[in-house]
């Protein structure tokens, strides 16, 4: 973690596109440590896609990679996601 580390707020646009819903206020439960955080508040790493990591145990919560035509989503690290209905 350094001064350039972003958080899930900066992934709002990508998540909105993938899930067709506002996701930064959604509460995610980390499958690694059980901590619950809004996706906006967790760590964001960007490269070929986006990776969200738990700020408590650093486990990967969610990965999204897009190539323009297709989207790959890996949700293994999230036990649950809770959104306002």
């Amino acid at each position: 973690m350094d001064a350039l580390t972003l958080d899930g707020n900066a992934a709002a646009g990508v998540l909105q596109e993938v899930f067709a819903a506002e996701m930064t206020a959604a509460a995610g439960t980390c499958d690694g440590c059980g901590a619950v955080e809004a996706l906006g508040a967790v760590r964001l790493y960007t490269g070929a896609g986006i990776v969200l990591r738990c700020p408590h145990c650093e486990d990967v919560l969610l990965k999204v990679v897009t190539d323009g035509g297709r989207i790959w989503i890996d949700l293994r690290g999230l036990r649950t996601l809770e959104l306002s209905a």
Partner: protein, 231 residues
């Protein structure tokens, strides 16, 4: 285009069909080069929903891919691709009663400014205190407007801390935001309803941790790790 400080400019955009936004939300700006290479960054909206134009206040990062284009190359009349508004976590909820604390470090002031502008434009009297940490007085963005907002008798206060150098006769704070400083500036735990903290990651982590240490409920503290955003 409006210059704010040496490194910061505000880009004013006319957006067809803009449906308004909530204070604290962002837009994603996407630039596409002639060879098809694309770069995308997220920028906080600085303007209030009622303002005529969408304003993005951008700090120029020398090695950035997007911010130097926005601050140096963009000209009036140019078109850029944006997506938004997006975000629903770091947003001001004007219906919540109780005191509000805004804590901004550097260009982390931008989404907090949207909240201050929204508050003023709504005629809200919710007690709101902005703690703004900048390196020098010259680095303070929105200086004149913040002075005007603070002068109105509607419960909005601004507290500055200048961490690197201070102008002659400076009577504000001159140290990093720490627990002692927050103990002096933050409302009591039973009055604080919402806190918004935005700035570089170490700043945000230190402030959020100190607020929790002072007894404020973590759920009331919203954070955004912002600038410099590699942009």
């Amino acid at each position: 285009m409006r210059p704010e400080t040496e490194r910061v400019k505000t880009v004013l955009l006319d957006v067809d069909g803009w449906q308004g936004h909530r204070a604290g939300q962002h837009v994603d700006v996407r630039l596409t080069a002639e060879d098809g290479y694309q770069a995308q960054r997220s920028y906080s909206i600085a303007s209030a929903a009622e303002d005529a134009r969408l304003e993005l206040t951008v700090e120029r990062l020398d090695d950035g891919e997007v911010s130097p284009y926005l601050t140096d190359e963009l000209r009036a009349g140019d078109a850029i691709e944006i997506r938004g508004p997006v975000g629903g976590y770091f947003v001001w909820d004007p219906t919540v009663e109780g005191s509000v604390l805004l804590v901004g470090g550097g260009s982390g002031i931008v989404p907090l400014m949207a909240m201050a502008r929204e508050r003023a434009s709504d005629g809200s009297r919710v007690p709101t205190r902005l703690l703004y940490s900048a390196r020098t007085w010259e680095d303070v963005i929105f200086r004149d407007e913040l002075e005007q907002l603070a002068a109105a008798p509607d419960g909005f206060e601004v507290v500055y801390t200048l961490t690197r150098s201070q102008p002659p006769g400076w009577d504000g704070y001159s140290r990093r935001v720490d627990r002692d400083l927050l103990a002096e500036v933050a409302p009591p735990t039973d009055e604080l309803a919402q806190a918004f903290v935005c700035g570089p990651t170490p700043f945000v982590e230190a402030v959020a941790e100190a607020l929790v240490g002072l007894g404020h409920e973590p759920q009331r503290i919203k954070t955004e790790r912002f600038g410099p955003t590699g942009g």
